[in-house]
């Protein structure tokens, strides 16, 4: 854990050894995440899972992914929200017929 100090201009300086260790270069972007525990300065880049997924794709699949990505990115926020809100669950008692009873031992 490194301690960073906010200067009079509201800027923080990352220690040179951290910059070197993390391979940061001028212009690199860092994400500032507001967690309940405080602020996290997070280095971007691709996480292991996303990276593994991407590396498994061959050239043809990457081309297909790019085409599909372009289509998805062209959707409005409302259209994307609509996709992810399909089939919302009801909490009403009338909907309970699909619930599964646990077996008694």
């Amino acid at each position: 854990m490194e301690k960073l100090t906010v200067d009079a201009d509201g800027k923080i300086t990352i220690p040179p050894e951290v910059i070197q260790k993390r391979g940061l270069h001028p212009g690199d972007e860092l994400a500032l995440v507001e967690a309940p525990e405080g602020l996290l300065v997070y280095q971007g880049g691709v996480d292991d899972k996303t990276s593994a997924w991407w590396n498994r794709l061959d050239d043809g699949q990457r081309l297909l992914a790019e085409t599909e990505a372009r289509r998805y990115e062209s959707l409005s926020d409302k259209e994307r929200d609509s996709i992810w809100n399909e089939e919302a669950d009801s909490i009403e008692a009338e909907a309970e017929s699909d619930e599964i009873d646990l077996p008694t031992k």
Partner: protein, 179 residues
């Protein structure tokens, strides 16, 4: 919650997490920088996958993914299992709305206790990961009352339900503090 108290064996990822992980991959394929929320969700997902034995999603999230482009959705479906609704899930969700949770939030929380893994015949998860800070804060703030209400409900249910528990709820941002 600390790194030492957050060691869940089973985790339910809410729809918002899966959506952002999906969209992070869309951004990579498109060659566009991801948003902070997408980075947050993808990194949390990658971390949780290393510590939990079982990653779950709800039936709704599973059905949405099945209709999405499989080049993005199939790996997420392969790495997770959908939870079914055990009996009393909606009853508990309705109780949770009395604590001012929305129906959608109440369903997710109820899956945490009454979500059934048909394959392993286990019920409930140890932790729910969400992108919704308000949900996590509200759950934490009212936890003692929720626990009392939960205990009052399950004590009157048949035997297999009496052993059910409440899950921990953590945000993707909180998970990153443990990485």
């Amino acid at each position: 919650m600390t790194r030492s108290t957050f060691q869940p064996n089973s985790v339910l990822l809410d729809k918002g997490v899966i959506r952002r992980v999906y969209e992070r991959r869309v951004r990579l394929a498109f060659g566009k920088p991801p948003t902070v929320l997408q980075i947050e969700a993808a990194n949390s997902y990658a971390y949780v996958a290393t510590i939990a034995n079982h990653l779950y999603i709800t039936e709704q999230t599973s059905n949405i993914l099945k209709r999405r482009t499989q080049i993005f959705a199939a790996p997420l479906l392969a790495e997770t299992r959908p939870l079914k609704k055990a009996r009393y899930l909606r009853r508990w969700a309705r109780r949770l709305t009395e604590f001012a949770f929305s129906s959608e939030d109440a369903i997710i929380l109820a899956y945490g206790s009454f979500g059934l893994d048909v394959e392993s015949r286990t019920v409930g998860v140890e932790a729910i990961i969400t992108t919704d800070n308000r949900l996590a804060e509200h759950y934490e703030r009212r936890h003692a009352e929720i626990k009392n209400r939960f205990d009052d409900m399950i004590v009157n249910l048949p035997e297999p339900y009496a052993r059910l528990t409440l899950p921990q709820v953590a945000t993707t941002a909180t998970v990153l503090t443990f990485v």
